[in-house]
């Protein structure tokens, strides 16, 4: 875990900081003479050898960092310092802290919708295996699974907002303010993004849940439970689903982790000020400190989720627990 984090930080840092963009040039401005460029490099700490730059970066995470203390108006970046965006005049952690709640709400709402529809749909399909309910659900799931997210998003915007005018235009500021400041506007804005994320993922979970339930139905302990004469509901929920939950949890954990790093396309289409928008913006503006910071944080989510999923795994699966 720690090793992986270290590797990730190393890979991310060198991948982006050895690119031939010159951040010093980007912030050099008007009369950019070679001397000014050199001065600017010094100010950004780019005159150090790459390895020292990496060390300064890591040290900044733990102890904070002051850029060019020998210059007028040195820039203080507080621990945990992931860098300072000279283009946005802000610490990378501040920018991430502002974007993260938006992405959190997006992920959370989307997750609730997709897991509900996915699991319920999957169980229904499994219980009605082979009948029309199953076929309809599986067909819908397949189409949902096959639609590129940006196309779903554009379709929703076209029909729901532009043609039918059921919802107003998305409001990034309402999302930024959170669900408690202006709940109506917040939900009006978030409902379509949630749907996009949900459609995309629910389709996969319907199939996954159906297969899991069908598989566990064949297992001895479920057959035993049935033979004992337990009600069908108890059999499904307590036995079949419980055991079948493990792969669902694994998949959900990873999906959440990826989304927390920024649902780039969904956020772009709906203009949500989350991690995805932040990172795309950083990329198009060559804002290296910001790119490095965002990618690192996104990677941390994935690694941490893997760990959590591993822990849950033992907790959920009766076979693993007994073993």
């Amino acid at each position: 875990m720690v090793g992986l984090l270290f590797l990730l930080s190393l890979a991310v840092f060198f991948l982006f900081n050895l690119l031939p963009f010159d951040p010093a040039r980007l912030t050099c401005g008007k009369v950019c003479t070679p001397q000014l460029l050199e001065q600017n490099r010094h100010r950004l700490g780019l005159d150090l050898p790459p390895w020292d730059q990496y060390l300064a970066f890591v040290r900044g995470i733990f102890f904070g960092r002051i850029y060019a203390p020998d210059q007028p108006f040195p820039i203080v970046c507080h621990a945990p310092c992931l860098g300072y965006s000279f283009l946005r005049h802000a610490e990378v952690t501040t920018l991430i802290a502002r974007a993260l709640p938006v992405t959190l709400w997006l992920t959370l709402g989307g997750f609730i919708v997709w897991i509900t529809f996915g699991v319920v749909g999957g169980i229904v399909a499994a219980l009605r295996r082979g009948r029309w309910q199953d076929r309809v659900l599986m067909t819908v799931a397949l189409f949902g699974y096959s639609m590129p997210s940006f196309f779903i998003g554009l379709l929703l915007i076209f029909f729901v907002i532009l043609q039918l005018q059921w919802l107003p235009f998305p409001s990034a500021s309402a999302v930024q303010a959170g669900p408690f400041a202006n709940p109506v506007k917040f939900f009006q804005t978030m409902i379509l993004p949630w749907l996009v994320i949900a459609i995309l993922n629910a389709a996969f979970y319907v199939r996954l849940t159906r297969n899991q339930v069908l598989e566990t139905f064949g297992e001895d302990y479920v057959r035993t439970a049935r033979a004992k004469g337990l009600p069908e509901r108890t059999v499904v929920v307590k036995h079949a689903l419980r055991a079948g939950l493990t792969p669902i949890v694994t998949a959900a954990g990873l999906d959440i982790a990826y989304l927390m790093g920024g649902a780039i396309i969904t956020e772009s289409i709906f203009s949500l000020p989350g991690m995805g928008s932040l990172s795309v913006n950083a990329v198009t503006n060559y804002d290296l400190p910001l790119i490095t910071g965002v990618v690192l944080v996104a990677g941390i989510f994935i690694i941490a989720m893997n760990l959590i999923v591993d822990l849950l795994y033992g907790f959920l699966d009766p076979r693993v627990r007994i073993g």
Binding site: L19, Y145, S149, V295, I303
Partner: protein, 310 residues
């Protein structure tokens, strides 16, 4: 022996599956269109690069005729806003690029994933450990972001390495980057399969008979892996089609005047309030393509599953 009879069962099952057959037919047509379509259209006088100044208005640049300038037989699917280029011709050239990228990337992904999976599974020990960590690391990268961030630089680097500049290096970049971030999924599946195969009698027999490692790996094991690999391939291809579209939607794609589904959809956003067809034509084509692949992949998986209940 085992392999052949399974193949027969699978083939028999597939032939009975009408959905699978239809999808297969659609995909064959799509590939044919991608290969010969542009030449055919050219012969018929449709060209994705020709500007039709007469088809667009002088004030605002919108198509003169309604519904995006649909006009039989000149522009059966309409023309592009602002330039008057033929949508049908653009669609076919987009289809070609989309299939080139997704098919090549899938082949490369499957190659890397299979080789790494077999090696990791068979060698075990340190090799397995290191390859496993590598997979974790690759999977921990926010893929889409990396592709966006590196596109310009890596394309330049490919050009510097002698790849012809322009679309050749851009397409190659897409293929490489998709494969380089896509292989760990298959590698994990293959590794798991190899772990169980390693303990099977025929492999032990081969080892006992003194067969060399390459012969065991690729002679004995590979033929037993084709089922999961095939299923994985048919499911990866459509996801790469979607991915390529998403990337060109985000602006990482081919150079103008060439275009792709994603780029056409990105452009449609500026005009679809007035001309909704700009959204539905490339979007519909994209969905048809991906759904066909997914349905076929599904059928294939069912057909290959010995436990499948029909």
């Amino acid at each position: 022996m085992v392999g052949r009879s399974l193949r027969e069962i699978v083939w028999a099952r597939l032939r009975r599956d009408r959905v699978a057959l239809i999808c297969f037919a659609i995909l064959v047509v799509m590939y044919l269109l991608a290969i010969v379509g542009p030449y055919l259209l050219n012969a018929l006088g449709y060209d994705p690069y020709t500007f039709d100044r007469a088809a667009i208005s002088n004030s605002g640049g919108q198509p003169v005729l309604p519904n995006g300038g649909i006009e039989f037989p000149k522009h059966p699917l309409g023309v592009e806003w602002g330039t008057g280029r033929d949508i049908m011709a653009q669609l076919l050239s987009g289809l070609r690029i989309s299939l080139i990228v997704s098919t090549s990337a899938t082949i490369l992904t499957v190659l890397i994933g299979t080789v790494v999976g077999i090696v990791a599974g068979y060698a075990g020990g340190w090799t397995d450990q290191i390859l496993g960590r590598l997979m974790d690391l690759v999977l921990a990268f926010p893929f889409l972001l990396i592709v966006l961030a590196l596109s310009g630089v890596m394309t330049d680097r490919l050009t510097a390495m002698g790849v012809p500049e322009g679309n050749t290096s851009r397409v190659l970049y897409l293929i490489l980057v998709m494969s380089l971030f896509g292989w760990p999924y298959l590698a994990r599946i293959v590794r798991g399969q190899v772990l169980s195969l390693r303990e099977r009698e025929f492999v032990e027999a081969a080892v006992a008979m003194g067969a060399g490692t390459p012969r065991i790996l690729f002679g004995e094991m590979l033929p037993n892996l084709w089922a999961p690999i095939l299923v994985y391939t048919t499911l990866t291809l459509p996801s790469y089609i979607g991915l390529e579209a998403a990337l060109s939607f985000l602006g990482v794609g081919v150079l103008p005047p060439d275009t792709t589904f994603g780029a056409m959809l990105a452009n449609s956003v500026s005009y679809f309030q007035v001309v909704p067809l700009y959204l539905f034509i490339p979007g519909g084509m994209l969905v048809l393509l991906v759904v066909s692949f997914n349905l076929l992949g599904d059928s294939l998986r069912d057909a290959l599953d010995p436990k499948a209940i029909h």
